[in-house]
Symmetry: C2
Subunit: 300 residues, 2 copies
C-alpha cells in the first residue's frame, strides 16, 4: 500500500478515468501533444543564439539568447563569448530564492572583451508592434498582457512588450544608471519569478537546459548572496557560442514554436488539468508556469 | 568604476534621491518599517507549531505549522515528530523547480508513528468565515482573492480560503485518493509557485528559516526527482517540535502579524519600489512575492 502511495505522488501521466463518450475525444496529455506536433511546429535554435556554459564540476548549461528583445545586449554577449571573457572565471553570487550571477574576471585580473562595449543603453522593453504574442487569457499580477513570443515568456501593456522575469530567465546586471549594464554580468532567476524587475533590467535570454546545475549552487553568505572573500566559488570552465563549436559537437536543439497550435494545446493541457490525480483542474495559468518544450531534432 | 557597478547591483537599501518637499514624508524602506514596528505587531511563534529539522550536513530548517488551515494534518505531524518518525531517514526527492520531499523510513525499515493516523481526510480548503484576510488589491492568475492570514499566504473565492503554493510552503504528499496523505510524506516548494496544486494537496505550514539548505539539494535523477537506488541521499538527523526542545535551545522566533499596519506597509514597500535603482516602481505585487518578516524576539 505504502509503495503505491509513494509511487502515486504526482504521477502526471494521463490516466483516463473513464472512456470518452461517443463523439468525444479524450483530452491529450502534454506528452501526447508534444509527440504529435508536426515538424513545422518546431524551430531550430540558431547556433549563434545558443550560449554553452561549461562548469568546472562537469555540468553544462545551455542558454538561448533573445535578439528580438535585446539585440544590442545579445550582440555584446556574443562578442564577449567569442573573446572568451568568462572562461576560467567564478560564479560571483548565489542568492536564495532570487538569482545566480557571474561577472567575468575578478577585479585586477586580465579581461578580454573583444569587440564588446563596456556599457549599453537599456533594452528593458520594445514596441509591441511587429511581435506576434500568443496571449494568455488569465489575469497576471504584474501586467495587462502576458503570453509568449519567439519562444520566450512576455508581458506587455498593448503598446510595449517585454520579457518576463520567470524562473530560468537570463538578464544583464546593472548599476544605478540604466546604461551601466553590458551583458558582462549575467544573472539567472533561480526562485519565484521576481517580476518587479521587469522593465528595470535588460533580460536577454533563457536557460534551455541545465538549470539544475545553477539552482543548487551553495548560497553565498555575503550581502545579496555574493560569495565572501576566501569562500569556495563554483567555477566556469568556459562559455562559448554554439556557432563556435565544431558542428559535430553542437546539440541540434529545437523549440516548440510558441505561435503554433501545438503550443497552445500544451499550455491548455497544463492550464486545465485532466489527470485523475487532480480534483481541482484549476483552469487558470500564469505565464511563468507554462512549459516551453524543447527537444533534440529527430534524425534525417 | 567596475567595482561600483558590481556593488551597485540590486542594493535595495533606500537611497532618497531628493529630500521630500515640505509636508511630505519620505517613504520608508522595508527595513525601516520592520525596525519601527511596535512590539504588539509581532507574535510569538508557538513552540508546538515549530518543526525543527536537523540535517546530517549541519543545516537546520525551521517550519511553522498552520493549525488554522490543516488542524488534523498538523496534529498528525506533531504526533509523528514526537514519535521521532523522521529521525535518521533520507530526503526522498529533489525535483528541479518544484519540490524537495521526505517520506520517513524506507520501505521495510521500522517506522514509529506514535499516535499518528495512517491517512487523513483532505484539508485542501476551509471556510473563509472566521478568517481575517489582509487582502492584496492586485489580480492573481489563480484565484479571485489573495492575501495573508495568520502569517501565511492565502487564496480564496469569497466562500472558501486555502493556503497558496508559494516558495517555501510545506505540504503533505498524497497518492491518487484525496485521503491518502497523512503528513508523513512532506514536501517543500523550491521553485516558482506551483499554484495548480492549490486545493489539490493539503498545505500545512511554511519554512521560516533554512530554505537554503533544502533548495540546493542535488536534484534526483529518477522520475519526479526521486533519488535513484544507490544514489547518495541527503539525510535527516532528526525532526522535532519546538515544544520538545529544552527551553534554552528554543529560538524565540516572532513573526510580523499579517493583520498589522506594519505588515501592510511592508507589502506596499515591496509593491511600489521607491529605491533609486528602480526606474519602473511596478505598483503591483503577487501574493508569492510578498515578504513574511520574522525575527528573534528582543531581550527583556
Amino acid at each position: 500500500m505504502r509503495a503505491a502511495l509513494l509511487a502515486g505522488l504526482w504521477v502526471l501521466a494521463a490516466c483516463a478515468s473513464a472512456p470518452p463518450a461517443e463523439g468525444q475525444t479524450a483530452p491529450r496529455s502534454m506528452d501526447e501533444i508534444i509527440n504529435a506536433a508536426p515538424a513545422s511546429d518546431w524551430r531550430d535554435i540558431a547556433p549563434e543564439n545558443m550560449l554553452f556554459m561549461r562548469l568546472a564540476n562537469g555540468g553544462t548549461v545551455i542558454i538561448e539568447l533573445a535578439p528580438s528583445f535585446a539585440p544590442n545586449h545579445v550582440a555584446n554577449v556574443q562578442a564577449l563569448a567569442r573573446a572568451h571573457f568568462w572562461d576560467g572565471t567564478p560564479i560571483a553570487r548565489s542568492q536564495e530564492n532570487y538569482v545566480v550571477q557571474w561577472n567575468g574576471p575578478d577585479e585586477g585580473q586580465p579581461a578580454s572583451r573583444g569587440a564588446a562595449q563596456e556599457r549599453l543603453e537599456a533594452e528593458f522593453a520594445r514596441p509591441a508592434a511587429g511581435l506576434s504574442i500568443t496571449r494568455l487569457q488569465d489575469p497576471d499580477s504584474y501586467a495587462p498582457v502576458t503570453g509568449f513570443a519567439d519562444g520566450f515568456p512576455v508581458a506587455g501593456n498593448g503598446e510595449r512588450a517585454w520579457l518576463a522575469h520567470c524562473y530560468g530567465m537570463v538578464g544583464a546586471g546593472r548599476g544605478d544608471t540604466t546604461d551601466s549594464g553590458s551583458g558582462a554580468e549575467l544573472y539567472v532567476v533561480i526562485g519565484h519569478a521576481p517580476r518587479h524587475l521587469d522593465r528595470n533590467v535588460t533580460l536577454l535570454g533563457r536557460v534551455l537546459q541545465g538549470m539544475e546545475h545553477l539552482s543548487v549552487m551553495p548560497r553565498g553568505t555575503g550581502p545579496l548572496g555574493f560569495y565572501e572573500e576566501g569562500a569556495a566559488r563554483p567555477m566556469i570552465s568556459r562559455i562559448e557560442l554554439g556557432s563556435e563549436l565544431p558542428t559535430a559537437e553542437r546539440p541540434r536543439l529545437q523549440a516548440l514554436r510558441t505561435e503554433s497550435e501545438s503550443f497552445r494545446d500544451v499550455v491548455e493541457s497544463r492550464r486545465t488539468r485532466r489527470e485523475e490525480w487532480f480534483v481541482e483542474p484549476t483552469g487558470r495559468i500564469n505565464v511563468c508556469n507554462a512549459p516551453l518544450p524543447i527537444r533534440v531534432a529527430p534524425q534525417g
